[in-house]
């Protein structure tokens, strides 16, 4: 199974904010974490994470700093801001609404979907 591009794009922001809400991190580690939690089903193009991070930084949801990694390389670490946490809470509410609505629809339609129309009651 492959999640469509639009869905990946729409879920990317809450996913990154959610991961950063757990603690400071950097690009490669964020991608690995996305991979782990989705069981490999969310296929991100690695590079495109960085423009997203820069956009979130610009909006003030996250902030960054250059530090030296344990391996001795220069690495850019990102951390969520107060404003980012508020944004994350807002996104969670919206996603909960969407997921809840979908669940309700699928419950009433049942599974598998009925093949014939229900007879009208007299």
């Amino acid at each position: 199974m492959h999640v469509t591009k639009d869905l990946v794009a729409a879920s990317a922001t809450p996913m990154v904010l959610g991961i950063l809400a757990l603690g400071e991190s950097y690009g490669y580690a964020i991608l690995k974490q996305v991979n782990d939690v989705s069981g490999g089903e969310l296929a991100w193009t690695d590079g495109l994470l960085y423009p997203l991070l820069h956009r979130l930084e610009r909006l003030g949801h996250i902030e960054s700093s250059w530090r030296t990694s344990p391996g001795g390389r220069r690495r850019k670490y990102y951390r969520i801001t107060g404003q980012g946490r508020a944004e994350l809470a807002e996104q969670r509410r919206q996603w909960a609404a969407v997921v809840g609505a979908l669940k309700n629809i699928w419950q009433t339609t049942g599974e598998p979907p009925p093949a014939v129309a229900l007879p009208l009651e007299a």
Partner: protein, 455 residues
């Protein structure tokens, strides 16, 4: 993992970096960040059993299509497509070592320039009353600090500093040793030629003792054009500021014109000379140069105007009427045409094949040379009839020097557009000809006053 494959990976990463840097929307810090990602991916893949070169290929593939990536970066950082002048280094990337020192040097030199112009007042030379002194010497006050700035910046050796000091001292002698009357022609001529001679001395500091490098002198030509444009822009801004300040203080009944005339204008303009030089140096690789752009616009227009003039002169059969100012006017015309050609040359890719624009330049060079020949004929006629003055001799000499340059340039261009000569010959001709300008300027400053018995 062998040492060999490690080396291999380093070259591959280096190549990938250069390729990334070509995308304008991606800056150095972004490439650093992506490289860190690339290396982390490679390290994980190698641990999983891939060879480094295989791991590199997979990692690059995972980063994704670079054009898409650069488009995404451009959407976030659209301002990067407008290149920005970063003077003290961004906050993200550490400032390159030495830029702090450079800032100190420029502030020091600009302050020295601003104070220097007021020093003669301590010896009773007033700006308002002794304007002859300032007229002869302003180039020294402005250009010595600028040369000092380049000596610091290029870290030139003691020999070059010695040469610079000697030349500036010579300029000081030329300006002040001769007994010239305040209203003589010679003093005006010195005031015009000394700045030119000293500007080329600054060129010596600019090339940093690399006397014989045509590239460096070409850089100096570029620098001159950009410096002029920036200086004009800054002067415009400053005059608006002055006008507003005078008006605002006037509104509360305080007259600041005295302060502006005797402090702000002289000190400010002297400091501006150094600051503009620093600006041009700092922005050199960042912003598209202005001079070549203007050149592209004006070369066709000037060529058309000159051809029209030439056609009209030939058709009407009128001889050019050599009045007092005509020589100067045509000198000015030649200087402008030469400037246009120089900047077109300095901005041109030396390896590009001849194109339409080169034909335009050829037309410009030929028509300017022809017009100048007409003027020269008329002038020599007049001089042989009426005798000469310092003014006429200087203007005539300039005409001849510029004409020689333009005519030979036209010859080289004609060869170049017919594929008989590489473009480099033209560049070399222009950069070596700078020595002729320098020699002539010094002759006028040092030899003209005695030759014309200080008239």
């Amino acid at each position: 993992m062998t040492i060999d494959s490690d080396m291999d990976l380093e070259t591959q990463v280096a190549e990938w970096r250069t390729y990334m840097r070509r995308h304008r929307a991606v800056d150095g810090a972004d490439v650093d960040e992506l490289e860190d990602h690339l290396r982390a991916t490679v390290a994980d893949l190698v641990e999983a059993g891939l060879r480094p070169d295989e791991a590199f290929l997979v990692a690059v593939k995972r980063i994704g299509n670079l054009d898409d990536l650069s488009r995404e970066f451009a959407r976030v950082h659209s301002e990067r497509l407008w290149k920005q002048l970063v003077l003290a280094g961004g906050q993200e990337a550490p400032a390159p070592a030495g830029s702090r020192r450079d800032l100190l040097v420029v502030v020091g030199c600009a302050t020295a320039a601003a104070i220097g112009i007021k020093v003669p007042e301590l010896f009773g030379l007033d700006l308002a009353n002794d304007d002859g002194f300032y007229q002869r010497n302003f180039a020294l006050f402005a250009l010595v600090p600028m040369a000092a700035y380049f000596t610091f910046r290029r870290r030139v050796g003691a020999a070059v500093i010695g040469v610079l000091l000697a030349l500036f001292a010579l300029g000081g002698v030329g300006a002040n040793a001769y007994p010239l009357a305040e209203d003589s022609q010679s003093i005006v001529i010195t005031a015009i030629h000394l700045p030119l001679a000293l500007w080329l001395v600054v060129g010596v500091a600019y090339v940093g003792g690399d006397w014989l490098s045509d590239r460096r002198w070409m850089d100096f030509i570029r620098f001159t054009g950009e410096w002029l444009i920036y200086f004009v822009l800054i002067t415009l801004g400053a005059s608006i500021l002055v006008a507003v300040t005078v008006g605002a203080f006037g509104a509360i009944g305080i007259d600041v014109t005295d302060f502006i005339d005797s402090w702000l204008l002289p000190c400010g303009s002297m400091a501006a000379v150094v600051v503009v030089a620093w600006l041009v140096e700092a922005k050199q690789s960042v912003i598209e140069n202005m001079a070549p752009v203007l050149t592209r616009v004006f070369t066709p227009l000037f060529a058309a105007a000159l051809l029209a003039f030439l056609a009209a002169a030939l058709w009407s059969g009128n001889v050019i009427d050599v009045e007092r100012d005509v020589l100067i006017l045509f000198d000015l015309l030649l200087v402008v045409v030469l400037g246009l050609m120089l900047y077109a040359i300095s901005a041109r890719d030396p390896t590009a094949r001849p194109a339409f624009f080169d034909w335009l330049q050829l037309a410009l060079a030929i028509s300017a040379s022809l017009i100048d020949v007409l003027v020269l004929l008329a002038v020599t006629d007049r001089i042989s009839e009426w005798g000469t003055t310092p003014n006429k001799a200087a203007a005539l000499g300039e005409n001849v020097i510029l004409l020689a340059n333009l005519a030979w340039t036209a010859f080289l261009l004609a060869d170049f557009v017919r594929h008989r000569r590489p473009f480099e010959h033209l560049e070399r001709w222009q950069t070596r000809y700078i020595a002729v300008y320098a020699a002539w300027a010094w002759i006028v400053v040092l030899a003209f006053p005695p030759v014309f018995s200080f008239s």
